[in-house]
């Protein structure tokens, strides 16, 4: 097989289709008796006031931010890791510096108190 992505593509397609099948079957055979109470949003006790799309804690955003930076870092580190074996020691030092620079960012965030949940 020349391009493994053809296989992956087919796999993706089928892998997404197979879960759909039982849902489709269910859509045909499952009963449908809607009523307002059943359709209402699940809530514990009280009626829901307003819709659920309320503003959220900014802290989630900070973690996403740190994650974003480290996630992009990994995109750089995987090629580095793959070619580490074939290249001189200099490359090792290079990668270590790369990691240390990013850890510096993490420690900055830490020191600024941004990793606290409060």
């Amino acid at each position: 097989m020349q391009n493994p992505w053809i296989y992956i593509g087919l796999f993706l397609l089928i892998g997404m289709l197979i879960p759909v099948a039982p849902l489709a079957i269910a859509a045909f055979i499952a009963p449908k008796k809607p009523n307002p109470i059943k359709q209402s949003t699940y809530e514990c006790g009280m009626e829901t006031v307003g819709d659920s799309w309320v503003q959220f804690k900014a802290q989630y955003y900070v973690f996403a931010l740190v994650f974003l930076v480290f996630d992009v870092e990994t995109v750089f580190l995987f090629p580095w890791a793959v070619s580490l074996n074939a290249l001189p020691v200099f490359v090792l030092v290079e990668g270590i510096i790369f990691i240390l620079i990013l850890l510096a960012g993490l420690f900055y965030t830490w020191r600024k108190g941004m990793l606290e949940w409060a």
Partner: protein, 173 residues
């Protein structure tokens, strides 16, 4: 007569274009972000068609795994305008549309100006050629892009420090 790879390309290109149009036109910003995911996934497929395996996967990891999530988080953090039923385009949207169209026409004009030289077809991958390690070597070897490699980490550091500072500087509130 078109072959299978062209079909795949056209399908993914269609996905990309339709999703991109949706990104810039839907009112619901979460939907816009999800359409962006769809666009970016299409781009990843294009990379796969181009046999740039690493980029295809990295595209999904970075854009869908991180950037799209960031957008959704940001939308949720600034949600007053999320469901506003008002127009999502500004007063100058006609101008913007015109300019975008002109840009596209100009680009298409330039591309067509090169004529047949752009009808080049991809060469077959040489036997035993490993693009991943070639990419690794190019990226980190001293003769390659070692400096941009390090600079990228500094860029990311700066982005992290800067955005943490900007987003959450409590002292200024």
């Amino acid at each position: 007569m078109i072959d299978a790879s062209q079909v795949i390309f056209l399908l993914s290109a269609g996905l990309i274009v339709v999703s991109a149009v949706m990104v810039v036109s839907v009112r619901n910003l979460v939907h816009a972000a999800l359409w962006l995911v769809s666009t970016l996934f299409g781009v990843a497929v294009v990379y796969a068609v181009l046999e740039a395996s690493f980029l295809a996967v990295a595209q999904v990891v970075v854009y869908i795994g991180a950037i799209a999530i960031m957008f959704i988080f940001a939308v949720m953090l600034t949600r007053r305008d999320l469901l506003s039923k008002s127009e999502q385009t500004n007063a100058n949207w006609v101008w913007a549309l015109g300019l975008a169209a002109i840009v596209f026409v100009a680009l298409a004009f330039i591309i067509s100006g090169y004529g047949a030289s752009l009808n080049r077809l991809p060469a077959a991958m040489p036997e035993g050629y490993d693009p991943i390690s070639a990419l690794g070597n190019a990226l980190v070897s001293p003769e390659g892009f070692a400096l941009p490699f390090e600079v990228a980490s500094v860029l990311l550091l700066a982005a992290l420090v800067g955005s943490v500072y900007v987003a959450l500087n409590k002292a200024k509130e």
